[in-house]
């Protein structure tokens, strides 16, 4: 049987996101299975543990809620291994969660015995800023957990998978999640030397939202993370031009009024005459350099700093326009116009909407990025959201696993290729 026919059934992808773990074989079609990217280490003396006697020390997947014990224990027992896209080298608990998730996912799709199954071709994806030791640990995990389930394994960066899933071979992928953002040029390969990382993500939008709630008399809500996030998602806007949007909102406060009721409660946030501040939320994500934010920094809101994590320096105050330009200008000059023509935005931090009647002031994420680049002299730009923001990484991994020849062996310089797993 040809390898293409075999891999049209036995290609398997795993997307290790910061919150969710998406997994499954090619035969699932459009949508992978999804569980939380987390694991729980139960207290072995508990009645529940003794009654159901799980075979593993780490509980992952849909069973986690069954084993949760006291709230006080959660912070030490419930582990989210990839909150910032990276796992510390010495964080054994986090690596055990990752190991359990890989076993859990492969066991969920065990083919019938004696049907000629010789192991899956597994493609896993990691954040583009993952240092080499993460590749080493993850590939080692697959080797340990094999037991005949895996024929070969590889790891690819998530922005690379996004480009593959979107079907564009030359582009810049900007991935923005809760903790950080990455700008990654792709031209048939990831151009790793040109990547730029930002120490800014959805969590920073939450921070400015919290400050706005304090300033407008909702200090009691400002400390509840889940409420702050909901308020951000429902009233936060991205301005095309911040000064003009604020002026317009102050002139016509009813048009720009920001109001949100927390579902199932009587709690309502109404910014009234301060509704202009809703534009600060979106602006801060894309460009924290406006002087209006200085007053928040001086009052104690943390200014995004440059930090080094692993091998990568994450820039704190670089706006998205400058970040894209800095990244593209590290690439060959001939390639640069082609990269600007395909800029892809991926990740939950780009899900900004434009409400009716505010089309003149508010814009969506692709438009904002286009405006930032235009203000810096880059005009022939095409910026789009990825076609399937939730699943594009998983799609890209499936295509990679199907198409790459099986004799293309893993190379530690290139960080690509198949690593054969002994059976």
């Amino acid at each position: 049987m040809s390898s293409d026919n075999y891999r049209s059934h036995y290609t398997f992808a795993m997307d290790f996101g910061t919150s969710d773990f998406k997994y499954g074989p090619i035969t699932l079609g459009e949508k992978p299975r999804i569980v939380n990217n987390r694991g729980y280490f139960p207290d072995k003396s508990s009645v529940m543990y003794k009654a159901f006697e799980p075979t593993s020390d780490v509980i992952v997947g849909d069973d986690v809620p069954l084993y949760l014990q006291s709230a006080e224990d959660l912070s030490s027992r419930l582990i989210y291994p990839m909150r910032n896209g990276m796992i510390d080298k010495s964080d054994d608990q986090a690596w055990r969660v990752v190991s359990s998730l890989t076993s859990y996912s492969l066991d969920a799709f065990k083919p019938e015995s004696n049907n000629g199954f010789r192991g899956y071709y597994v493609v896993a994806s990691l954040s583009s800023v993952s240092p080499r030791y993460m590749y080493e640990r993850l590939l080692g995990t697959f080797q340990e957990n094999n037991h005949g389930k895996i024929r070969a394994v590889t790891v690819i960066p998530q922005p690379f998978a996004v480009a593959i899933g979107h079907g564009v071979t030359t582009c810049v992928v900007i991935e923005s999640g809760h903790g950080n953002s990455q700008v990654c040029p792709i031209s048939k390969y990831p151009i790793r030397a040109a990547q730029v990382a930002l120490n800014r993500g959805g969590g920073d939008a939450n921070a400015i939202t919290s400050e706005i709630l304090k300033d407008t008399g909702y200090g009691d809500l400002a400390n509840e993370e889940a409420v702050v996030r909901k308020v951000k998602e429902n009233i936060g806007l991205v301005p095309g031009n911040l000064d003009n949007a604020i002026a317009d909102a102050k002139k016509f406060p009813r048009k720009a009024r920001a109001r949100y009721r927390v579902p199932g409660t009587r709690v309502e946030v109404d910014l009234e005459k301060d509704s202009w501040s809703r534009f600060l939320i979106g602006e801060y994500v894309f460009n924290p350099n406006h002087e209006i934010f200085d007053s928040y920094f001086s009052r104690g809101m943390p200014r995004p700093k440059d930090v080094k994590m692993g091998d990568t320096v994450f820039r704190g105050m670089l706006d998205f326009g400058e970040a894209i330009i800095a990244s593209v200008e590290r690439c060959p000059v001939e390639l640069q116009p082609m990269l600007y023509r395909e800029v892809l935005l991926s990740g939950g931090n780009f899900s900004w909407t434009v409400p009716p009647k505010l089309e003149e002031s508010a814009v969506d994420a692709p438009t904002k990025v286009r405006l930032l680049l235009r203000d810096r002299g880059i005009k022939n730009v095409s910026v789009k959201m990825t076609s399937s923001p939730q699943f594009s990484v998983w799609h890209g991994c499936i295509i990679y696993g199907f198409a790459v020849p099986e004799d293309y062996e893993w190379d530690w310089q290139r960080l690509e290729g198949w690593m054969k797993v002994s059976n």
Partner: protein
């Protein structure tokens, strides 16, 4: 009392003159796709043997099923966790029945003839469908100048002289997902390691 029928899973009780049967779903069963349906179908088949039947399931299942279905079929539903057991749906007691004796109808020659005709048409359709499936398979495997059909880039896997039989949940010969359509990466990736002189932008 223990279930006298060793082939039947579950627990049987005698409550007065009524026979009660309970089938228990364990937590690990929830992870298996067909175990819930299998258990419920087994319970339904026991409706004529026991006055009352119950399904006992972990409380977690309560959020995912509609209890009215159990009510409609007279099956009782119990939820349990480490603290207690609750009856979510009360069963409808039923007298065990004997299957009715239906006299064999007299054979209608016209009906028999029509059935034979339908049978031969069915077999003909089945042959045509098999032929169409084979033609489609050959069409997918044939080389193309454009489109997403992948080119075989290397010799078949060695070892294993027999064709694998795929699991029932795999649709053999089915189309690839939509994100494969017109995707240029299929060709780019299929050449990995083949064009060693190709300059890398990275």
């Amino acid at each position: 009392m223990p279930n006298p029928d060793s082939n039947q899973a579950g627990l049987s009780f005698l409550v007065g003159a009524d026979q009660v049967h309970v089938m228990v779903l364990k937590t690990q069963d929830l992870a298996q796709r067909n175990s819930i349906i299998d258990t419920v179908l087994k319970l339904s088949s026991l409706r004529n043997s026991y006055q009352t039947v119950y399904l006992a399931a972990p409380r977690l299942l309560g959020a995912t099923i509609d209890a009215s279905i159990f009510r409609a079929h007279g099956i009782g539903l119990l939820f349990f966790d480490e603290r207690r057991i609750d009856e979510a749906v009360a069963p409808q007691p039923l007298q065990p029945t004997r299957p009715p004796v239906i006299p064999a109808p007299a054979q209608d020659p016209a009906l028999v003839s029509e059935l034979a005709t339908l049978k031969s048409m069915y077999f003909e359709m089945e042959r045509n469908l098999t032929q169409l499936r084979d033609d489609l398979k050959h069409l997918h495997q044939a080389p193309r100048n454009e489109g997403f059909a992948p080119q075989p880039s290397h010799p078949p896997l060695g070892g294993g002289p027999h064709e694998p039989v795929f699991a029932p949940n795999i649709v053999q010969g089915g189309p690839l997902p939509s994100y494969f359509s017109n995707n240029p990466w299929l060709e780019v990736l299929s050449k990995r390691g083949r064009l060693e002189n190709e300059p890398l932008a990275g």
